[in-house]
Subunit: 143 residues, 2 copies
Amino acid sequence: MNQLKEALDSLKETGVRITPQRHAILEYLINSMSHPTADEIYKALEGKFPNMSVATVYNNLRVFREVGLVKELTFGDASSRFDFVTTHHYHVICENCGKIVDFLYPGLDEVEHLASHVTGFKVENHRMEIYGLCPDCTSKEVH
Amino acid sequence: MNQLKEALDSLKETGVRITPQRHAILEYLINSMSHPTADEIYKALEGKFPNMSVATVYNNLRVFREVGLVKELTFGDASSRFDFVTTHHYHVICENCGKIVDFLYPGLDEVEHLASHVTGFKVENHRMEIYGLCPDCTSKEVH
DNA sequence: TCTTATATTATAATTGTTATAATTAATTTT
DNA sequence: AAAATTAATTATAACAATTATAATATAAGA
């Protein structure tokens, strides 16, 4: 149940070197509940690594993505967000304040199957986002 | 059944001026089956409008989005794609060649309801993309 | 510890998109 | 229909996110 240790092990297995920066980025991703952007990670680790380059954050997020530890989320807005991969879940996003809430739901297997059948694709996975107003913004809503 | 005429009418209704550029962009979007990027539209209309600025394309795509005629799609890759709004459908995307195929499926209402119930959001809509390999790429696949 | 391959840094380049200001064109008012 | 008004277009610059480059530093294995 130690996610960080497991993640580091899986890096080792794939021959990816474990550097202090990588350790810190992974740790931050695991402890963060907020789907951070690359820049947020960069700023959050500024204190610990005053010399770290933003390229390092991007490079390592790409490495983690390739290894399957991290998922890159692109919503409508400017920059990508990154999510440490745990169990399968979807995202519910507030269109007003941008808050992102995880939403567990058994995978939509039947949709994948139908899509495969109709289009002839060999379907691998899917993503879904649900948009609306969060409770805070709903109550403040102007009519 | 004339989509272009209907679209132009709905622009008129909302007080949006119909310019030759807007006409051409809309026409291109309707006839294009390819979910083009802003730049693709720009290049496609270069012959007809040698002086058109790329800003015009972006501006008008935003206008069309605000009026509800067009949907902006952001996938993992660099630039947004734009889709003329017709009936509700999802997209099946080839991870190898990038091909995008429309996939009709009755909206996942029950997922929206459950998400709303669990998170307390006032849910408005959702999006879903299905990823895999298209038939062409499946047959060429290397093992 | 030495070696070698890889990671990091600092910086520049690139790309998609948006902002600005001047010009042009569409609509409204006279 | 002409003048006035409003909005759209253009050309350009600015911006922000991301990626490429080259030099330096560091992790892991011999």
